[in-house]
Amino acid sequence: DGSDTGGSLVEPNPASVGAGHQLLPSDQAQQMEARIESMGYEVGYRLVERTCQRRWMGGDQLEAIKFVCKDLWSDLFKKQVDKLQTDHQGTFVLKDSNFRWTSRYAEDDTAGSRDLVNRLLQLPCGLVRGALANLGLVAVVRASFLDDRGGMSDLPAVSFTIKIRVGGSNQ
């Protein structure tokens, strides 16, 4: 099951807590991102347990992803995922053209603001990973707000890439 939480991977480091959104040295920033992600995982894992009591009917991988796109997304962000793409080999791309948590961010193509958004997006990444874990799927989730050319896209648009680990499914 998904009881190996990401939390244990993170070394406690009081120095970086509450450092706000200044630019941090990259290893520290990475640690912080990992921590935010693991917080998201905890929340997603617990949350989906409650959501499922109301709705989840069971099913295969695709059903689980659809559940995330529809039910979980509208619970969390008041809308469904706009576009779901898959290569039918365990990779799914969820595109939300107006992601709620980034909708207030000003467009600003500087490295600092990118870091900030990246850090912010670790939480929903963790949420999705935790939710999938509790549905029996071990996955890696990455968020991206870059468009195809590598520049910033219109910011509220965010895409999440889910890679299901092969053999990670036990349903």
């Binding site: 406690p12 009081p14 807590v17 917080m39 929340v43 617990r46 619970d75 969390l76």
Partner: protein, 178 residues
């Protein structure tokens, strides 16, 4: 009412995220007292910003003339607006400079139980910070502390608010005309 105007977030998400954050703080600091302090100061930072949102959207047209009015607005309007519940104001002291907010229904502590080794944790201490920060922005220096906590076996959450001083509206020393 003001409640209708602000955008909402899923209550379970809010509660669980707050829980995850407190857990992370406990992991980081390993000392309950330091966690309490950190929660308060995070609340303070939220409060100093939240007051803007409050003043913009609450529709409280007349400024509060005394602490009694302020207390009512905090309990009935602000708590409703940001937590979805109202608080009761009670236990005024003799000269009207301190009161208690009684929170019967605290969304932060849903699903929460304190393990015995963290019995000193003031789980909702963030709220104290928020109140302190917000009131400081409207020239009231207050101190807040949790005196009763459902998680610690009391029947209600009580936050004691004491007015320290009304701050003068003065310009910063660095401020110069032009």
């Amino acid at each position: 009412q003001a409640w209708g105007k602000i955008s909402k977030v899923n209550a379970e998400l809010f509660t669980l995220t707050y829980g995850a954050m407190v857990m992370q703080l406990i992991q980081d600091f390993e000392d309950v007292g330091a966690v309490n302090k950190q929660l308060e100061s995070m609340g303070y930072n939220i409060g100093v910003r939240l007051i803007d949102e409050f003043l913009a959207k609450a529709g409280v047209s007349t400024p509060c003339t005394d602490l009694k009015e302020t207390a009512d607005v905090v309990a009935k309007v602000a708590f409703k607006m940001f937590l979805g519940v109202t608080a009761d104001v009670s236990s005024w002291n003799g000269d009207g400079t301190a009161f208690s907010l009684l929170l019967y229904d605290n969304p932060l502590i849903e699903f929460v139980e304190l393990p015995p080794q963290y019995s000193g944790l003031l789980y909702s201490n963030l709220l104290c910070g928020v109140i302190r920060g917000a009131l400081e922005m409207v020239q009231m220096k207050v101190s807040c502390r949790c005196v009763r906590d459902v998680l610690r076996g009391d029947d209600v959450n009580e936050i004691r608010v004491e007015l320290k001083e009304m701050m003068e509206d003065v310009m910063d020393e660095d401020y110069k005309e032009g």
